[in-house]
Structure formats: structure tokens, C-alpha cells
Symmetry: C2
């Protein structure tokens, strides 16, 4: 199908699908989760082969994918996510009567989702972006990531199977393969209403600019990664040196460092830098080089390392092993905070198991660090509660720079729940007011509409007087289930 035909069927399918109940949409999603689980034995080996990720990880990722699907299925079956808000008519109000006004969220239309190479299942064909768009009531044009074409085709077939089994039009989901030109054509089509993307800064920004130059600009939800700094405070680090070293290296090297929330920057007090460094070296000994997702990513990793090796401000704690085919080898370097502050290059993400350890003299220096920090998906603060008492200003500054602020554990392992925020100030994402993980991700694909004095026979169930869906609504400004 050419792009125009793809969007024509997607638009038709959308106009049918958007009016189905949340229960029907949820049943379709549940069916899809069932089908994916039933075909685990076929999907997992494909994804392992195409991503170079271990079977255990891919098995877990399939569980995460169906878990996400069921989360959104439950969300739309329950139904309160549409923010139904009703201001009933006040015919006797003086000086002017008030009309009856009812608002809720309505799906955007056909949307374009780009798959991510680092999550061949959970952020790809039936991943978080795709499912939150379908849950919202949009139709979907999915641009497969070229790194895992067979996995993508297989999952796409599962989606079509679920559509057929649910009596839904095939045009609700179209699987598109190709390169940059094919992706651009999708973003430029007049019927496209939004774009979701997870990947490189360059890729995300190219789509963002393209979408803004359309005759009708459309939102681009691009998640472009970040360096996810960890701030170690002196007392905390002194008391838990060993476990923090372990936690840091485990998070840094998980999945060969190929996570958006992989910590690429760690701030350590000078008084403990030597001791901490020794432990990190020890931990890294247990980490073997492992295959990366595809040759392009491995090449980019080694190119970045090579550039950093040319910078005399860095002292190398562990150099990367020489490049060997696809293998990514962990690397770690140290820099003084004064040098780090001088050049924003040291904030650039190196996708893979590389981190920069920034040595600071005094906690007071961290405010300047916070001010100069780019926007991040996550920031982690490792500190004793007492150490933070006098650091409220720093915490405030750090809040301005991230979407999620952690005080324990490591930033990798993003929980898929109701309260998760996976997004953050630019350049982490192009849309800091949205999340690509968790229940709120659905809101990216809907917009508010208000009906004024709509005949009750036309009102959607969510806005009917007697609340037939039994959802939480705001009536006259008061939250109620009545």
C-alpha cells in the first residue's frame, strides 16, 4: 500500500473504532496479550537472534509487554481516564444563564509510532507507544525498526490476529517497513495526528522539526535518552561504599548499557573517590564484553569512546577493550568537576556501558552542576536523610532538570505503573509534559473536546447524566462517581 492508501484505511478504521466502548477496546487488547503469550515460543527466539539480547531478558521483556497491554486494557475498561467533566446548565443564573457543557478526552486520529531498537518487544510493534495509542482510540501506523524486522512482522501478525478475532478493521494497525524516507513520508501525511519515537537525539529532533514544518504541525513525543546522573553524598557513600559500587556497575552495564535510563554520570566526593574507584574496578572485572544491539550502535559507542580518549581532562579508570565485532566493553573515566563544568560535551550520552565519574570537592559545588545540567529522564540522589536537610535548594534545582528523581536504587528498571513518569525536560524528550511509560502515556493520544447543549441521545456514555459507565467524573467542579 502507498502512504496515502495506508492513511485512508487508518482514518476509516479510526472513525469506526473511536466510538467503541472502553470495554470493547480493552477486550481487544486483552486478546492481543493472550495471543502474544501463546506465541512466546516463536517470538522469543526471533527477538533474541535479531537483538543479540539474552533469552532471559527477552522472555522478561515479553512479560513486560503483555503486562503493559493489560494495564492499558484495564485502564480503558475502567474508563475514568477520559477526564469527564460536566458543568450542567444553570438556566436561572443571573445575569446570564449557563449552558450545559460537558468535556472529555477524545482520541486524536491516525498516529505514527516508530519502534525502538533497544526494546524489540516492549518499545516496538506492540510496545508502550503502540498500545497506549490503540487504548486511547487511535488507529496506528507503525514504522518497524530495521534492526528486528522478523520479530516485528511476527508481532504485527499477532496484532492482526487479535483485530480479526475482535471483529475490528485491519486498518487499525498498519505495519510499515523501510528506512528514513519511509518514516518521513508517514510523519508528513496530512492525516497523521501525532508521532511517538524512542531513539537517538538526532533522529528525534529530525522528526520534531519535520512535524513542526507541516502545514498542520503535530505533536512529536520523542524520547531521546539522557545521561541520568547519580549524585553521591559523602556520608551515604562512606556508609555503603560497597553496595553502592555494586548497584552502580550493575545498572551501568545491564543490557550492555543499552537503556534510556542507564547512568552515564556519577558525582563522587574527592575524599572518597580513590576508595570508590577501587571498588568499581573490582566490580567491572566481573563484567564481560557482550554483543550490542546492532553494528551501528557498537560503532557509535566506540566512536564516542575514541573521542573522549582524546580529551586530556579525562583520566581513565577502565578503558574499553579493543573493538571486536559487535561487542560492547564497559569503560569508565574520571574528571574533576571544574573541568566537567567547562564543556557541555561531557554531558553527551554515550549509548552503552560508559560512565564518567565526576569528582567534586564540596557538596556546595553541586548547585552549579545542577544549574548547568541538561534535562534528564532521571536523576538519582544517594544521600542520608540528614545530609539532605540542608540541601532543599539543590533538590529544587534537580527537580527542574528531570522527570523522575530517585533516592534509592538505580534508574534502570522502569516500573510500569500508574505513577511512573518516563520523560523529562529537553533534551531528554521533546514533550516534558508527557510520559512514554505508565498509565498516563495514554493521554498523549487524546485531546479535550467540549459539547455544549448536546442532545442527550448523542452524548457519549462517559458524559451521560446517569453515569452509565460508573466512572470518576468532575461535576460542577467536584470529583464524584455519581
Amino acid at each position: 500500500m502507498n502512504t496515502n492508501s495506508i492513511f485512508q484505511v487508518a482514518q476509516e478504521a479510526f472513525l469506526f473504532y473511536k466510538n467503541l466502548s472502553g470495554k470493547e477496546k480493552g477486550a481487544f487488547l486483552d486478546k492481543l496479550a493472550d495471543i502474544l503469550e501463546s506465541q512466546r515460543a516463536e517470538i522469543v527466539p526471533l527477538a533474541v537472534r535479531e537483538s543479540n539480547l539474552p533469552e532471559g531478558r527477552i522472555n522478561g521483556e515479553l512479560g513486560r509487554t503483555t503486562g503493559q497491554i493489560r494495564l492499558f486494557a484495564n485502564l480503558v475498561k475502567e474508563g475514568s481516564w477520559v477526564e469527564a467533566t460536566i458543568d450542567p446548565a444553570l438556566p436561572d443564573r443571573s445575569p446570564l444563564p449557563r449552558a450545559d457543557i460537558r468535556r472529555f478526552l477524545t482520541p486524536l486520529g491516525p498516529v505514527v509510532v516508530f519502534g525502538a531498537s533497544n526494546f524489540p518487544l516492549a518499545f516496538s510493534t506492540a510496545g508502550g507507544d503502540s498500545i497506549s495509542a490503540l487504548a486511547a482510540g487511535c488507529s496506528l501506523i507503525y514504522k518497524a525498526h530495521p534492526a528486528h524486522p522478523e520479530t516485528s512482522r511476527k508481532v504485527a501478525a499477532c496484532i492482526q490476529e487479535a483485530l480479526t478475532a475482535s471483529g475490528l478493521p485491519a486498518g487499525l494497525f498498519t505495519h510499515v517497513e523501510g528506512g528514513i524516507a519511509e518514516g518521513q513520508a508517514l510523519v508528513q501525511h496530512p492525516l497523521a495526528k501525532a508521532v511517538a519515537f524512542t531513539g537517538s537525539h538526532a533522529g528525534g529532533m529530525a522528526l520534531f522539526q519535520l512535524a513542526n514544518q507541516r502545514e498542520e504541525p503535530i505533536p512529536v513525543y520523542a524520547e531521546m535518552g539522557s545521561v541520568n546522573p547519580i549524585f553521591c553524598f559523602p556520608n551515604k557513600l562512606a556508609q555503603e561504599t560497597e553496595s553502592l559500587a555494586k548497584a552502580f556497575i550493575a545498572s551501568l552495564t545491564l543490557g550492555v548499557g543499552q537503556f534510556c535510563t542507564n547512568p552515564g554520570l556519577i558525582f563522587v566526593p574527592a575524599s572518597q573517590a580513590k576508595a570508590f574507584e577501587a571498588l568499581l574496578i573490582e566490580e567491572l572485572k566481573g563484567i564481560a564484553a557482550a554483543p550490542m544491539l546492532h553494528p551501528g550502535i557498537a560503532q557509535a559507542y566506540y566512536d564516542s569512546i575514541q573521542y573522549l580518549e582524546s580529551r586530556e581532562e579525562l583520566r581513565w579508570i577502565k578503558v574499553a577493550d579493543p573493538k571486536h565485532l559487535l561487542n560492547g566493553s564497559a569503560a569508565l573515566a574520571e574528571i574533576q568537576v571544574a573541568d566537567w563544568l567547562k564543556d557541555k560535551q561531557f554531558q553527551k550520552e554515550v549509548f552503552g556501558s560508559f560512565a564518567l565519574m565526576v569528582v567534586y570537592q564540596d557538596v556546595a559545588e553541586l548547585a552549579e552542576v545542577a544549574k548547568q545540567l541538561h534535562g534528564q529522564l532521571t536523576i538519582t540522589v544517594w544521600a542520608e536523610a540528614e545530609e539532605l536537610q540542608s540541601q532543599l535548594f539543590l533538590i529544587n534545582l534537580l527537580e527542574e532538570k528531570c522527570g523522575r528523581l530517585l533516592f534509592k536504587g538505580a534508574p534502570t528498571g522502569v516500573e510500569v505503573g500508574h505513577a511512573m513518569q518516563h520523560g523529562g525536560p529537553f533534551p531528554a524528550t521533546t514533550a516534558p509534559n508527557s510520559t512514554s511509560v505508565g498509565a498516563y502515556a495514554i493521554k498523549r493520544f487524546a485531546r479535550p473536546i467540549a459539547f455544549q447543549d448536546m442532545p442527550s441521545g448523542l452524548l457519549p456514555d462517559a458524559l451521560q447524566d446517569h453515569n452509565p459507565l460508573g466512572i470518576w467524573r468532575q461535576v460542577n467542579g467536584i470529583v464524584t462517581m455519581k
Copy 2:
């Protein structure tokens, strides 16, 4: 102050103000409303003189302005708007424990608001955009509209008085005067986090592109008007010809047509076009030409009319009186639907009391009209309930093209309430997922942040276990006030 100093004090003020309670923010807003009301006798004459609008309208607009301020004051004093969402830790969950994750909305930072010429009070210095930004917890750099400088200075002084009386830093609100260059400098400053604008398509798009070309792109909430079509169905029009003619002309000519929701397009069945036209001519006889907001707007109105007079597809029902200084004279022309469909020029907004009456032969033609229609703030359908039974597909198509869909009355007179949606698909606005009127307008100036395992001493009140604010929250996905 130069731009840099303005933003430095705005950033400092923001970091102080954002942590104040909703009660403190609300008290400041209430104080501001009190001050504005107490200075009504000084404000109203200034605004009348600078806008050419009648005193009755400006008096009403001041009431609307303080009404909006109190709506937002109440919203932040109540506090539930922050969408507090808590997923408590599940330490015993298998295979992995769940961390404690708590999410809410946090203000963006310093934001830039541009005043609108057509609402010297309600969409200007202390208008809806300014107040929703301050209510959210942002600091504000306000670019005054050059059409009403004295009104703006006076209201700015009231805001400073309210800040002083509330013990808040002066840097929370900075009043900036100047032209395009001054406005652009504000949008380009690195500390600016969002822009709100109400005005022309060209002005809004220039700011939108400027903001997207920044090193850090920021959202632009530009409300750029629309033609707000009215669709008359045959039975309804037959039964209520006279009252609908009255309602249409009243809405068209209200405030010399200088409203964003002014209806500039009306679709009328051919069988009744003649009769309806006669009534419209009759109604227009009672409408005298009246002064427009400023000479630039009057000039643009007559330029648009002149262009349309050159189009042979139009038959003029009432021509505009010859231009006389500032006066805007209502005008009305007729076009056949087939001609209208051929050229998108006929969808262009003429800011002022001009409307195009589009004559259709059959209701079936309206689906094509809906498909070709640009995005609108409002669409109005005047139809008997029975006439709509078979028009669900058309209603669906119209929903795709507007932010508010009306079935009675006229689109002007935008209610400021909880359920209002004032925004719509492009080109009505650059951000259809937001509203510039009503309680939800506050959400434009906040973004989500999640705290993971934050020590309870640091948690904001909205996210404390025992819910000290008594707000509605989502805990484990369930809406609760506990």
C-alpha cells in the same frame, strides 16, 4: 531591566514561589482580585479609551477577569489539580520488589505571556493566561499589547501591589513593553519554559517557529482564532428562522465581531436561503458601524473585504459601508457550496463582523464540507434532534475539527468553568490538547515529575502518606481522598 536580568529575577522568584502551598498561592490571587475590583473606577475608563469598546462591555470584562482569578484561586486552594498519583512500595512483590513511586504536577518555571488586543482585561495583563500560569506556580514575564499600554501598566501595578501585600517577590511578575523584537527576545531566552499567546495566525506561527528553533524547544500555546462555522439543518431552520437569524447576527456583530469565537461561516439549505437572507438583512439594519480595537485591525478588516469583493463566486447580501476611520461595518456574502469547497481561501478568518453564507443543496454535501474544514475553536450545529439521528457520521467528522461543539445558541460568550474547552485542532491553536479558558488551562504550565523512594520529610504535602491537603489522589490506581 534587560532580558537577562528579567529572567534571572523571574527564576529566583519561581524557585521560592513554587514551594508555597496552594493556600498561599490562592490567597495571593484572591488579594489580586480584590485590588482589581477596588480600582474598577480607574481601570475601566483607561480600557474603554484604549480599546474603543463600550463601558458596559469593559465593566463586564473586569468582572469576568476577577471571576477567572477567583476560579483559579479556588482551584489551587482545593489542590486536587496536581494529579497526585501514588504507587506505594511493594517490598515483597515477586520476582522483583516495587519501589515507592509518587507523581504529581510541578510548575514549569518562568513563562512568557502575550496580551491580546481584543480583551484588554480578560486576556491581557491579569487575564486567563497570566493567572493560570501564576496559579500553577510559574513566574511570569508579561508582554503587554501595544494597543492598551496604560491599561496594562495600571493592572501590572495592581499585581505588584498584590505581591507586596502577600509578601511575595516582585520578580514573580515582570511587565514588558515593546514591539516584535522585544517579544521575540523573551521567547528566545534560555530560562523561558513556555509561551502563551492569543492573536493572529501570523503572529502565533512566528512565535511557534521561534520557540521550536531554540536550543531547548518550548511549548507555545497560541490561540489563533477560527471561523467557527454554524451548520443550519432544514427542519430546525424552518421552525425557528426568525430567532436563529437574530441569534446569528447578534453573535456575528457582538463587539464589532472581534471575538475568537465570532461565527464567520454559516451553512444554509438552498430551499430556505432566500427567506433566511431577508431576515438577516433586516437584522443587520439595526447594527451600526462601530469603532474597532485599533487602526491596524480596521485596516486588516477592510483589506480582507476588498479581496473578497474581487472574488466572483461571492454574491453580496450586505456590503460593508465605506471605510470611515476606525469603524467596522458588518458585511455578509453568499457562496454556493460547490464553489466554497474549491478554495481554502474561503475558510480564512476575517477578524470583524463579516460572515460567508454557504448555500448547500442537500445535507449529504456537509460530510465533504466537514472533511475539508480546517480546525476550529467551535462548530455549531442547529438541528432538530430527529434530524441528527441519521447524521452520526457527520457529527463524528465535525468532532475531529473542533474543540467545542454546540447544539444551541451561539459560539460567542465563552463560559469560564470547569468543563470549558477553548482551543481546537490546528490552525485554531498550536496545542489542541490544551485550553486557554477554564480550569484545565492551568495544566499548560505544569509538567509531571515522579519521586522514587523519596524520604517522607522531603515529599511535598500533596504526596504525603496521610494526605494532609485532603485532596483527591490516585493510590494504586484507585481514586481516593484517603
